[in-house]
């Protein structure tokens, strides 16, 4: 097996690794370097300014707002999405009626239908979903307020995305809508692999559904929940929140910066305001937040791995 081995390894790795290094790794390293300069992005000249950008960032009110919103995205979104998804997945897989002669625990009828439908938003582009909901949220002619008028709630006509107190929640609701299905399917697969005799034993011991869920399903599913949490958090800090906030909210960034998030702020500083160096500084802060989030979830969630 040794003959020509290294030539083969180099030949196979050169292209993918080269492309990856040039377009991913190298820009990452560069941007950390640029965060210590006064580079505008418009001209090739720049000089080192030490920690100036970082000092400026700490005094930047909009940065703190974007950080706060990004943290909310990273905490609230996974919490709501995974909570709902666990609930739905449990209903689909364990909520079924006991049929005579059937298994003790069974899924509801049409469980595969639910799983197919719930997954719909996941295959759509988040950009398209955001556009669609931007229309639905329109205060005058949008589907939501028109629906409220239709059922007689003429007094309840929120501005939705135009209301600084509501806009962020509206945006988050769209992300929940589009990601719950993914986790329902993910958790359903995990629940399907939990042996039925565990449930049978629990029911024989007189455990109700809630006890069954918290004592059997959740612990055995914990690894999946945890990696799903990290996955969702990274998405919520990065690409997904960029698309929804940039497309849906005015500005973009919402009325009175009420929806601006870190990833959008990086984009605006670099490509709108010509402050590339400062943008990379905020980007470095985003990197720190992302890594800290992942480390925290992995640490808080550490449990003994259960074998079954």
């Amino acid at each position: 097996m040794q003959h020509g081995k290294y030539r083969f390894i180099v030949g196979f790795l050169a292209l993918p690794l080269g492309l990856y290094a040039l377009f991913v790794v190298w820009p990452f390293i560069q941007s950390i370097y640029y965060s210590f300069t006064d580079w505008t992005g418009l001209s090739p000249e720049f000089k080192m300014v030490g920690l100036d950008n970082y000092r400026r960032m700490l005094d930047d009110e909009i940065f703190w707002k974007s950080l706060q919103h990004s943290l909310m995205f990273a905490v609230v979104l996974p919490l709501v999405t995974i909570g709902l998804a666990l609930f739905f997945a449990f209903m689909i897989n364990v909520g079924g009626r006991k049929r005579r002669g059937g298994p003790v625990i069974s899924g509801v009828r049409g469980s595969s239908f639910y799983k197919i439908v719930y997954f719909f938003p996941q295959v759509l582009s988040i950009a398209i979903v955001a556009l669609l909901f931007a229309f639905a949220y329109n205060p005058d002619s949008g589907a939501i307020n028109s629906f409220l008028r239709g059922i007689g709630l003429d007094g309840v006509q929120p501005l939705w995305l135009g209301d600084p107190d509501l806009a962020l929640w509206c945006v988050m609701a769209v992300l929940v809508w589009s990601t719950v299905g993914f986790f329902v399917v993910l958790f359903s697969a995990g629940m399907a692999s939990i042996p039925a005799d565990l449930y049978e034993a629990a029911l024989l011991d007189g455990a109700g559904r809630a006890t069954t869920f918290f004592r059997i399903t959740l612990p055995l599913l914990w690894d999946t929940v945890q990696s799903g949490w990290v996955y969702m958090g990274i998405l919520a800090l990065g690409a997904e929140s960029f698309a929804v906030v940039q497309i849906m909210t005015t500005g973009p960034g919402g009325p009175d910066y009420s929806t601006t998030v870190m990833v959008l702020y990086v984009y605006q500083k670099a490509f709108r305001d010509g402050q590339a160096a400062y943008a990379t500084t905020i980007g470095v802060a985003l990197l720190v937040v992302t890594l800290a989030f992942a480390a925290l979830v992995m640490r808080l969630g550490r449990r003994e791995r259960l074998e079954y």
Partner: protein, 305 residues
């Protein structure tokens, strides 16, 4: 993943009263089961409606004229305005956006699978100094915020003369798809038996021949899963083209639709925009319904590992 029964009909509204109480069974769990059953069905139906309703609403709206869209968002169209669709396809450049997207995604997908499987195979099957380092270099890319790299990347791509070109976008898509692809396929190649490859090698096949003629066919299920994952990711990609592809003629679907929505403030062709939105949604949804088992497998495989 076990979603085999795709043909099962939609769940009916729960009918609790047909369940005549029987003597003999333990009463408490049964009652709890019934209440829970009705309750769970109710909730599940509600969410299904919440998922489907906006999509159906979009389809319905795409057949209405502008007046009806704003006047009465929930009423059915007075007649089916197919002209919205033809207008979106020709005047609103949806045909160009489709073509650009197909070119970019087609090129990226092939490139990602070829390069990704080559790197993954080497990393999974060969021991050499630096193997672990390169593996973690690739895998680390999954958790880093892409936007941080995009600021300098814009200038890297610009200096190479690749800004606003289809092939430039393809190269960038491939580079950013490699972390997950390498991660997934490395795990997959490790699960394949090594005896077949060794036998081929003993028979005089070269390393690269062994890879292309023996290993790639064996890895087909993994390639399909990761291919679907990348296809959807690249087809729906919004952030990369927004930054690196600002030429109006080169826009991909997602970008084009967002630009269309922004420019509607002046043109006021909202019905055409809705037709464009639905046009962009339907192929992906149709493909999902046809290949739903593979799609679900491909998309959830990563998170389960």
């Amino acid at each position: 993943m076990s979603i085999e029964k795709t043909t099962e009909p939609p769940a009916p509204v729960p009918v609790t009263k047909t369940d005549v109480p029987r003597s003999g069974g333990p009463p408490r769990p049964k009652k709890e089961g019934q209440v829970l059953n009705a309750f769970s069905h109710g909730i599940l139906v509600l969410w299904a409606v919440m998922v489907v309703l906006p999509l159906l609403w979009a389809v319905m709206t795409s057949f209405k004229d502008d007046g009806a869209i704003f006047g009465s968002p929930w009423s059915l169209p007075d007649k089916l305005h197919f002209d919205n669709w033809s207008r979106a396809w020709t005047e609103a450049n949806m045909s160009d956006y489709f073509l650009n997207t197909v070119l970019v995604v087609g090129g990226s997908l092939i490139g990602t699978l070829v390069l990704g499987s080559m790197a993954a195979y080497v990393l999974a099957r060969f021991d050499f100094p630096g193997n672990r380092f390169i593996y973690y270099l690739f895998v680390g890319g999954m958790s880093f915020p892409i936007m941080l790299a995009l600021v300098p990347l814009f200038y890297v791509v610009n200096n190479m003369g690749l800004l606003n070109t289809i092939h430039g976008l393809i190269l960038v898509y491939i580079a950013y798809s490699l972390p997950f692809t390498v991660f997934f396929l490395t795990a997959f190649f490790r699960t394949l038996p090594s005896s077949v490859a060794e036998a081929a090698f003993v028979d005089g096949a070269s390393h690269s021949r062994t890879f292309f003629q023996i290993m790639v066919p064996m890895a087909k299920p993994g390639l399909i899963s990761v291919g679907i994952f990348n296809f959807l990711g690249q087809w729906n990609q919004y952030m990369l083209p927004t930054v690196l592809n600002t030429d109006p003629d080169k826009r991909v679907l997602t970008q084009g639709l967002v630009q269309l929505a922004v420019s509607q403030g002046y043109k006021g062709d909202w019905s055409g925009l809705f037709a464009g939105l639905v046009m962009a949604m339907l192929p992906v949804l149709a493909a999902y319904i046809v290949f739903q088992r593979q799609v679900v497998q491909g998309l959830t495989a990563g998170a389960l590992k």
